[in-house]
């Protein structure tokens, strides 16, 4: 081991033991998270980025928002403009289906954040599916999940 030149800076046996125990505990939690944990156990949950397998003859789901502005134009609205990321919409799709008024609350949040953006009369949250065959796209369908209309 390299000499430090000032022994006062070396860790005491107790400090070493504490650090070793802390590292072991964190390592243990992390391994447990990968073995049996879920995203909920952040930051110890499994590192599951792109970990699900999409079958080569399967479907790819994606959600999107279409809207009609108060002056009657059909537009596609970036989901981030509502204050939620697309994956966050997708994590809670069933809640929007049960309670479409949640979309209304997001429209309010959007208008607060961007008062100059075109106002929306009708907002539809959709789920779309790409159909794959041997890893290539062969079809595309959209289906509404929740619709909100300005009262």
């Amino acid at each position: 081991m390299e000499a430090t030149g000032y022994p006062g800076l070396m860790l005491s046996p107790l400090s070493r033991r504490l650090r070793t125990a802390a590292a072991a505990a964190v390592l243990g939690l992390t391994l447990a998270g990968t073995a049996v944990g879920q995203d909920d156990h952040f930051p110890f949950g499994p590192f599951r980025m792109f970990s699900t397998k999409t079958p080569r003859d399967g479907i790819v789901k994606v959600s999107l928002v279409r809207a009609v502005t108060v002056d009657g134009r059909d537009v596609r609205v970036p989901m981030g403009s509502f204050g939620l990321r697309r994956a966050e919409f997708e994590g809670q799709l069933d809640r929007f289906a049960v309670d479409p008024s949640l979309l209304g609350s997001l429209v309010v949040a959007r208008e607060r954040a961007a008062p100059d953006a075109p106002r929306l009369r009708e907002v539809t949250l959709l789920k779309a599916r790409w159909v794959l065959s041997d890893g290539r796209r062969v079809g595309y369908v959209e289906e509404p999940v929740a619709i909100w209309r300005r009262p």
């Binding site: 390299e2 590292a23 930051p43 949950g45 590192f47 970990s51 397998k53 981030g80 939620l84």
Partner: protein, 292 residues
Amino acid sequence: MTLRSMVQWWFEPVPRARVAWLRTALYLFVPVDVLLTTSWVARHGDVPGDLYQPLYVGRLLPLPVPGPTFVQVLQVVLVIASVVAATGRLPRVLGTAVFVLYFEWMVVAMSYGKVDHDRYAFLLALAVLPTVGAARWRDRHGDDAAGWAVRCIQVAVVLTYFLAAFAKFRFGGLDWANGATLTRAVLRRGTFLGRPLLDAPWLLQATQWGILVFELSSPLLLLRGRVGRGLVAFCVVFHLVTFATISIIFLPHVMCLLAFLPLERLRVPRLAAPLLRFRGDLRPVGATANGA
């Protein structure tokens, strides 16, 4: 490798200057992350509280449902604390404050139906950096407290890759690499550079195999010399290509790759010399000696 030598390995002295530079880089990255690269987190303050689905840790601790005021105050305090911490002053107090505040920022970020996996090493770095005590940019002396902290960050980076392979086996199955997961990624997030790849499914599939091999070989990052350095460079390229094709970049994680580099060799530019006085880097070394 015996247990004893493994513990020894974990405490291998590292020049304190490396910790000093890591603090500068990571604490200065916090405002970049909060205000620029993942500024969507702050928007959660405007989202109805009904959509807040607290993480396990958020249910365990009495944390408030984020509202506009809470998120704004948290954001301002976090940014100020990290900028001040980047000066190297009060490393234990300010470092701990940044860790706690950033952790709560992460609860706000990840409690709305989607959890990201690019923060593990960064959070761990924020947790261990305060344990080192005073560290100067030009302090080439090795010490085991600095060594432990740097090793922890390195191991966290490796685990992020290595365990990602096992998550793929667990959730996608052992034949994950034979699926069309990257096709899905490109369909959902592809850039103009990524989209043409949809016409070459075999290339995407080969890449999936490449990713698995890379993730499983990530412990080689811990090797000294050419192999380790080469793999660090490969990681950077991997993240850049991912960004160019599917617009995803694990920026906080990429910052932690710095822990593998000999940052202690960085020179302080002449122009920055006045900073040394401000940081307390010019006081005699013994005056701030601080072991525990």
